[in-house]
């Protein structure tokens, strides 16, 4: 709790320049709205985001990544999280991997949810054949198993970082589309959308102004869940050797590389697995405890 307030403090002072004290207390109040488990999630999430952003800078200060003969070393003062199968420091490897896991997953999730939401809004607001074409088209995509699809994509285009982002994005568009569409179709039938339509508003206005703000809450919750799916997909692809390629590694590849530690009793296989678990749980804690998610429906301001 202490860490989160202190890390966010510079943010608050920066915005305080624009609108003095009210803004600051507002931010603190919103933070309080997360509740204890939400704040815990927020702290863990911030930790990993900072690790991803500051990782290279931190690592240049610390010990060289070069290996020693000391493979699968247990946790010690020299190597806080032990060493991997080449004797490299595990802490450095995990922090380096955060960049790929958090970065690629975040981009892919935004891509999937963004595309899915936009297509869903288009389908709901224009209806008729556009809806039919989009829905059936994306249903077809759902029919292809995601691992199989990833395998084909990697075989065809190699496994560069942009390719992984696009691939994970495509795999998760249909799910986001389905949810956004069912929400949007319900909103579309409400009287205020009908009123906008009788006013002569265009499809774009109805999509963005009338429908989108009212499905944003649930879609945000869905974004969090989808992020978890993407992290797990990337981890499992890396485990299969199809994801991020050595020598760099995301957390999934770290688990695979160090699978031998299971027999040796080293910490190096458990640590990246725990990192994956902590990130996914943290994201869900944050999303579940988003303050004021339903406040609007209750009429709060």
């Amino acid at each position: 709790m202490e860490t989160t307030t202190s890390t966010l403090a510079p943010d608050a002072t920066a915005s305080a320049a624009a609108a003095p004290p009210a803004r600051r207390s507002n931010l603190l109040r919103r933070l309080g709205g997360f509740g204890p488990s939400g704040l815990l999630g927020l702290a863990v999430l911030l930790f990993w985001v900072l690790a991803a952003l500051l990782g290279p800078w931190l690592l240049s200060h610390s010990m060289a990544a070069a290996g020693t003969s000391n493979v699968f070393a247990p946790i010690s003062a020299a190597h806080w999280l032990g060493t991997d199968y080449l004797g490299r420091d595990m802490l450095a490897r995990v922090i380096e991997g955060a960049r790929y896991t958090v970065g690629v997953a975040l981009l892919a999730t935004l891509l999937a949810s963004g595309t899915g939401t936009v297509l869903a809004l288009l389908a709901a607001a224009s209806g008729r054949w556009i809806d039919a074409v989009l829905s059936r088209g994306l249903d077809t995509l759902t029919a292809i198993p995601s691992k199989m699809f990833a395998l084909i994509m990697v075989a065809g285009f190699g496994s560069s970082v942009p390719m992984l982002v696009v691939m994970a994005g495509i795999i998760y568009v249909p799910g986001a589309y389905r949810i956004a569409r069912s929400l949007a179709v319900n909103i579309n039938a409400l009287d205020y959308v009908t009123v906008a339509r009788t006013r002569g508003e265009g499809t774009l206005y109805i999509m963005l102004r009338e429908i989108l703000p009212n499905i944003a809450g649930p879609m945000l919750a869905d974004l969090g869940l989808r992020f978890v799916y993407v992290v797990l997909l990337l981890a499992s692809l890396s485990f299969l050797g199809l994801g991020i390629q050595p020598p760099v590694a995301d957390w999934g590849s770290l688990v695979r590389e160090n699978i031998g530690a299971l027999a040796m009793g080293g910490a190096s296989v458990i640590v990246p697995a725990l990192a994956i678990a902590s990130l996914t749980i943290a994201v869900n804690l944050v999303i579940d405890n988003l303050p004021g998610r339903s406040a609007r429906e209750r009429g709060a301001r």
């Binding site: 205020y192 339509r197 009788t198 006013r199 703000p213």
Partner: protein, 549 residues
């Protein structure tokens, strides 16, 4: 059979708010007490507390509720559970939402006796059939085998009464049991309820916002306002000589008031001319006829400044007519002439100027206003869209509109969720007025509002019509409302126009029998109205009654 009910110092809180404040009253065995008040006055909260129940987030903080010899609030949860459905039973507003759609009616009606182990299943069923007969349900022997969707709304409401009465409760709570029904159905249900309550000498608490209905049912009336008792007295006394100001206000709102138009129809120009209009839903066949015809051959003339009421029961096609005029539904036959020009059948084909001149106001203010937009944005949009207003003129116009509908300027920054039902309906009207339309289609604009609030909205609409000269096509199921604002009434049934009655002829006959049935079914604000109706119905020969139904 009924037991006396005594309530002393009942208070119910939700967090720091007091919903019901120190309420005391008593009901003698076999008497009916009505709880009346606007929404949010604590009627239902009080009624539920009589069973020892508080809704989620609420807490019964003080007081005593005594039914017969039982102190309800002193019982533990298990004892209260055995009390409910046996000693006290509850009839909710929406029977459709209270029945399980996947079980037969009989299963659900005898459920209280099964849960409490009162008698054998066969005995319970025999008793249920007896109750069905008392409640004047059709086919009492076999109706129990049906599922809830196979009976009408009015029948379902009576079946719920049977469910409540099967355990021979000492106290029956009826919570707005007829509010969701059409007038013609309401009268039958009221009749059945009253007979059962009288014959069984049950003690009853009747919750309602409709004084005219309550006047038929209750021996005493308790007027609630903001959780406090405004007045408690015998029904006759309340109706004849109310002591409290708020009671007077309620009575005034419930009495029909004619709101003059100030405009004579006929000598002004023809604004809307609906010619041979037919509409329907579903797939269109080779002859251009849709699968289900909703409207057939409607002809209607509306002159500038006139207000025409369209009335009929649910399913009569009233709303479809408004949708066709607005361009939301493409007619399969006929034309809509507006100010001398034929309107295109669909919205996309109409010009912006045509769209501006016809605005629509919906029934449910909750769904008619976008919950994520402030009132400012809701009102600004039509002004920007049609007139391109911005900056200072926009601000001035929004303030003008808020003044026009009598809302303070401060609501502009709020979201719809922070407004009351009446305020939302005013915003709804203001948005329509922002377009400066010639015609406003009003779809049941007051149905979701309390009597006092609805009366204020109707006053406002009449005033706007006088000042701005807008015309209304006023759709409602409530003859009382329509008569008070409209110059002419169009009566619809099963998608057809039955007759058109001018204001001057409201009280004079002869009218179409269906109009007369509707007119007679509106409860009058006096005691004994329902008895008179019963006598009239008994006098009428069965054949004419059948013809009316």
């Amino acid at each position: 059979m009924g037991a006396p009910l005594t309530v002393q110092g009942l208070s119910i809180c939700a967090g720091a708010n007091t919903l019901v404040d120190n309420l005391s009253f008593s009901v003698q065995p076999g008497e009916v007490l009505a709880l009346i008040g606007e929404s949010g006055s604590g009627k239902t909260t009080t009624a539920l507390a009589l069973m020892g129940y508080a809704r989620h987030g609420c807490r019964i903080s003080a007081g005593r509720v005594q039914i017969g010899d039982t102190d309800v609030l002193a019982l533990d949860a298990a004892q209260q559970r055995s009390l409910r459905g046996r000693t006290v039973s509850y009839i909710a507003q929406s029977a459709a939402a209270s029945f399980n759609p996947s079980r037969t009616i009989m299963d659900q009606v005898v459920e209280p006796t099964v849960i409490h182990g009162l008698c054998k299943r066969a005995e319970a069923e025999a008793k249920a059939v007896q109750l069905f007969r008392e409640l004047a349900l059709p086919d009492p022997e076999t109706i129990g085998a049906r599922y809830p969707h196979q009976v009408s709304g009015g029948q379902l409401q009576r079946l719920m009464a049977a469910m409540a009465l099967i355990g021979d409760p000492e106290l029956v709570i009826l919570d707005e049991p007829t509010t969701a029904l059409d007038v013609t159905t309401q009268i039958e249900v009221l009749r059945a309820f009253r007979r059962v309550v009288r014959e069984r000498r049950a003690t009853a608490v009747y919750v309602s916002h409709d004084l005219a209905v309550v006047a038929q049912m209750a021996d005493h009336i308790l007027v609630l306002r903001n959780g406090r008792m405004s007045e408690l007295n015998a029904t006759g006394q309340i109706l004849a000589a109310p002591a409290d100001d708020y009671t007077k206000c309620l009575l005034a709102a419930a009495r029909p008031a004619v709101r003059a138009s100030g405009q004579a129809s006929g000598d002004s120009e023809l604004l809307l001319d609906v010619q041979e209009l037919s509409c329907g839903y579903g797939a269109v066949d080779a002859k251009g006829q849709p699968a289900k015809i909703i409207l057939e051959d409607i002809n209607l003339k509306l002159y500038r400044g006139q207000a025409i009421g369209v009335i009929g029961e649910s399913g009569s096609g009233k709303t479809t007519l408004a949708r066709a005029v607005a361009g939301l539904l493409k007619p399969c036959h006929g034309t809509v002439m507006f100010d001398g020009h034929a309107l295109e059948p669909t919205l996309q084909q109409r010009e912006r100027e045509q769209l501006r001149r016809i605005q629509i106001v919906f029934q449910m203010a909750d769904t008619a206003l976008n919950p994520s937009q402030t009132i400012w944005r809701i009102l600004a949009r039509p002004l920007q869209f049609y007139k391109g207003l911005r900056g200072e003129p926009l601000k001035r116009r929004i303030h003008e509109l808020l003044d026009l509908v009598k809302l303070p300027h401060t609501v502009a920054d709020r979201l719809p969720g922070g407004l009351s039902g009446g305020q939302k309906q005013r915003v709804n009207l203001a948005r329509a007025l922002a377009a400066e339309p010639d015609l406003i289609l009003c779809d049941e604009v007051t149905s979701a509002l309390d009597t006092v609030v609805a009366a204020a909205v109707l006053d406002l609409m009449a005033e706007l019509r006088r000042e701005l000269g807008v015309s209304y096509l006023f759709i409602s199921h409530d003859l009382h409302t329509v008569r008070s604002v409209c110059d002419e009434i169009v009566v619809m049934q099963h998608g057809r126009k039955l007759s058109q009655v001018a204001r001057a002829d409201y009280e004079r006959g002869p009218h179409h029998p269906y109009y007369q049935l509707l007119a007679r079914s509106v409860p009058e604000l006096r005691q004994g109205w329902l008895d008179d109706m019963d006598r009239a119905a008994a006098a009428a020969t069965p054949s004419t009654r059948k013809a009316l139904a």
